[in-house]
């Protein structure tokens, strides 16, 4: 908003809609740059997957770690835990941020116990014992104060920042938790030292203050932002059974009661080498980098992934419509259930996303923004709120005064019906295929973009080559494929519609 540093200060951003992630990672085609040839893939004996890409544009390196775990993996009643854990991962380890871990440990145990008792008492609401709450609050404060004597706060960030880190951040999505940083190329060992340590030895310091921080994050992203609130309610309506229905940030009552013990269990289970993909892109010697990674990460034991079977979303049996009252101008969100990648239809829906809303010549812009003047903006996004499980094709729209959300909605359906009724001209398809290829190349330009893309698809689908081959798959899509997919998924019974209605 003001300067690039504000962005920096919003560190630990969660991936709010996951839309930005997917857009960023739209696969790019390869010409004269054989990515598949140049990527090295190694799997350590503990299951850790490492992708390496050597290039010498500048003496820097971008490093991504993605855990194949996210909000979708939280137990019921513990929503928000994956995201709070991501924040807690910056609190240090037994050897980073501690003056004496043996002194810390008993205090931390007491903090966990006292916090649990305090939360339990507060949950009684009207029947809560006010005096007990006061006593416990005081005791917790005292414990936190004595704990502070043995700790050095924000050491991980200090180490990275002082050593010249750029883009230091982390994000939590429904599917994955990600930690990334770019460093001067000679500092790669610092990253290995910190990341291998916090994969096993993170210490949950300052837990309760950080829980308050994520409550503020929720206020900022959902409670004060009409778009954020609408998205949350839309997703909750579109999914009735599958955990994708829950917000990444969590429901407030769950968030207020997140505890250190459950989080430890979740952390142990998910932050395991056999659940992890690392991508290293930049000015590195791959052999030396692998040696370093083996030295730091090789000894971390694999964990049995006791994943529980997830509830599947049953087929939708009729349109769902919801309204969200907010003191704001109208907004509209429409979603259709569809399969995730690498399903063949998902590629077709990528093409449809472009036909509808990529650029000024896209159908939505041409027809709804320019000709009919109904919309301020209309954007299609294929693949929300995650891509590990069946997901949604979504359309975000804002009507232009004095037109209503309803008028705009009808006009959107008219464009969608055109997809079912008329073949797409070859010229239009070619334009989109060219754009997919060019944007693929643009995405290769930065080390961070490439590391993000490789690690994302490797973690999500078990194969980074999905991204590399995506443009070729897109190249093969025909007008008939588009018509068939539109007819299959864009039907009223498979649809959820959410709108903002102005009002307090």
């Amino acid at each position: 908003m003001i300067g690039h540093r504000l962005h920096r200060a919003a560190a630990l951003a969660i991936l709010f809609t996951a839309a930005s992630l997917l857009l960023l990672l739209r696969p790019l085609p390869l010409s004269g740059f054989d990515l598949e040839e140049r990527v090295q893939k190694h799997v350590l004996s503990n299951g850790l997957t490492v992708l390496l890409f050597e290039r010498h544009q500048s003496p820097t390196v971008s490093l991504y770690i993605r855990y194949r775990a996210g909000a979708v993996d939280e137990p019921e009643g513990k929503t928000g835990m994956a995201h709070l854990l991501e924040h807690m991962m910056f609190k240090g380890t037994k050897t980073i941020g501690s003056k004496s871990f043996s002194q810390e440990r008993p205090i931390l145990d007491k903090i966990a116990d006292t916090g649990r008792l305090l939360d339990a008492e507060r949950r009684k609401k009207g029947r809560a014992d006010a005096a007990r709450i006061e006593t416990l609050t005081k005791r917790l404060e005292q414990l936190q104060q004595s704990h502070r004597r043995w700790t050095v706060s924000n050491e991980i960030d200090r180490l990275y920042t002082e050593n010249g880190a750029a883009d230091l951040n982390a994000s939590t999505g429904q599917d994955l938790i990600t930690y990334h940083v770019s460093l001067p190329a000679n500092k790669i060992e610092l990253w290995a030292r910190i990341e291998s340590d916090r994969m096993r030895n993170t210490v949950f310091r300052e837990f309760f203050a950080e829980r308050d921080v994520v409550m503020e994050e929720r206020r900022q992203r959902s409670e004060s932002d009409p778009g954020g609130k609408l998205y949350e309610q839309f997703i909750a309506a579109a999914f009735t059974a599958h955990p994708y229905r829950r917000p990444i940030l969590g429901w407030p009552s769950d968030m207020r009661n997140l505890d250190m013990d459950t989080m430890t269990e979740f952390y142990r289970r998910t932050h395991a080498p056999n659940n992890t993909v690392i991508a290293v892109v930049g000015d590195v010697n791959p052999g030396a980098a692998m040696k370093l990674i083996r030295r730091y990460f090789g000894g971390i034991p694999r964990q049995t992934s006791a994943g529980f079977p997830l509830t599947e979303e049953p087929p939708q049996r009729g349109e769902r419509r919801i309204e969200v009252r907010f003191e704001a101008n109208p907004q509209l969100l429409i979603g259709y259930h569809k399969p995730p990648p690498p399903d063949a239809d998902d590629y077709v829906l990528d093409v449809i996303e472009s036909i509808l809303s990529r650029g000024r010549t896209s159908r939505f812009h041409k027809r709804l923004v320019e000709e009919l003047a109904l919309a301020e903006s209309v954007e299609a996004v294929n693949g929300l709120p995650g891509s590990r499980y069946p997901n949604l094709f979504a359309i975000f729209a804002t009507p232009r005064h004095p037109h209503t959300a309803r008028e705009l909605e009808e006009a959107i359906y008219a464009e969608i019906d055109r997809l079912k009724a008329e073949p797409v001209e070859e010229r239009e398809l070619t334009k989109i295929k060219n754009q997919v290829k060019a944007n693929y190349l643009r995405g290769l330009n930065s080390n961070a973009g490439l590391a993000g893309m490789l690690s994302y698809y490797e973690a999500l689908l078990g194969d980074y080559r999905y991204a590399v081959r995506h443009p070729d798959k897109i190249e093969q899509i025909t007008s008939a494929d588009v018509r068939k997919a539109a007819g299959k998924y864009f039907v009223p019974d498979n649809r959820t519609v959410a709108t903002i209605v102005k009002g307090p």
Binding site: F33, G164, A165, N186, A209, M215, R219, T398, K431, L441
Partner: protein
Amino acid sequence: MRRSFRILLFCFFLFYLPSAAGAAPPSPSLPAPDRLKYPPLTWQIPEPSRWVMDNGIVLYHLPNIELPLVSVSLVIRTGSIFDPAGKEGLADLTATVMRTGGAAPLSGDLMDDRIESLAAILRVSADRESSNASLSVLRKNLAEGLDLFSRILMTPSFEEKKLALAKNLKLEELRRLRDDPQKLAFREFQRMFFRGDPRGSYPSRSSVQSITRDDLIRFHERYFHPANVMIAMTGDLSASEARELATRYFGAWRSTAASAQIPPPEKGLSGGMFFLLKDTPQSVIVSGRFSPSKRESRFYPFELLDFIAGSGGFRSRIFQQIRTDEGLAYSTGSFYRARPDYGLFGTYVLTKAESTVRALAVLNSILGDLSTQPVRVEELSSAKKAIDNSFIFSFASAERIVSQYVSAEYDGLPGDYLKSYRKRIEAVTEKDLLDAAARYLGTASPSVTLILGNASVLEELRKIHPSMEVLAPLPEE
């Protein structure tokens, strides 16, 4: 004038540093992170070539042949600072309709079609004190891309129908302004900070409605001419190709007009506290004051001061105290916008209604400490190391390198600005920092504070700050 392709040598010496006070002793298997030893980082940052065309346009070029892509960008010495009174929004609409309103012989619609068929990305945008245009195109489509780009910049048609669309979209944006508390608060802060200065003016319904095609044509004539632009080309093309193409597509651009001068702000800041009422569970606090310009020697200590205050990561004071220690905010910190003739230092917190008063008090006490007490030795050395070590990221791609050079020239900074920056940061002492802080952050220097919050926040704040001015709500657009 042409400087030969030279190599700038930036050496990054990375010394062994003793571990920070209080860090735990290393375990036998894991070295303490502060004791890790790194190989030296030496790197030659290529210096872009600079060339002045016959018509006066400055052209920068730096190749990057890894991918078959070319980027061309223009910086234009104009912006909304030149919006005439009553026509606020003109610079923005001019930029938008240059891009959308066609350029002979192509209509706006045909132009869109050509650009997107080439899979090119072409943008024109106006900022407050500068404007930009950019083209990203595949190498094989470079000539046609440049042809379209140059027409848009030199001879835009400004079709009435595209102007009407742009105005209507702008009006919708104004209507929706109040929906976003953060955007609204930062805008109102800027408005109150720069009262009586064009930097504080914003488009309104009536100013947007009053803008005509003739206004756009005149604005374009006045500011889009060779003396007022610099061009940067990077990517898969050689220096001679860059010159040849620039001459072919921009050589005919002629004008006798001199380059525009961006006026400095009226220095006198009348401080104050302002409140904007909005029914929201989370308040937004933005506070700011004038600070050193980029051309003053105090710029360097102030860069460090800003880093230590709230922009230098989690350890910076505002982040550490307000977020980590007290859990009062997710977004909080400081910013320092240094321009050639002035600087603006600001702080911000987004916090729940109930903790607004507390957050404001912590913010004030942090600035109070900084302006009266020297910073800790390790704070200063850590900030210096961070700025020094991360310097490479300002030069990590051809685009970034060229953009650094173009910005320095745009701002009229001395020729050695980029090369001497790190040395000048390194030379700053604790005393320099305290002097700068005392002068700019002390209670004697006026500040503007804007708080957006709900009725309960207003009531509480009024008790403590009876002179706080409550702003009239924005008109229903």
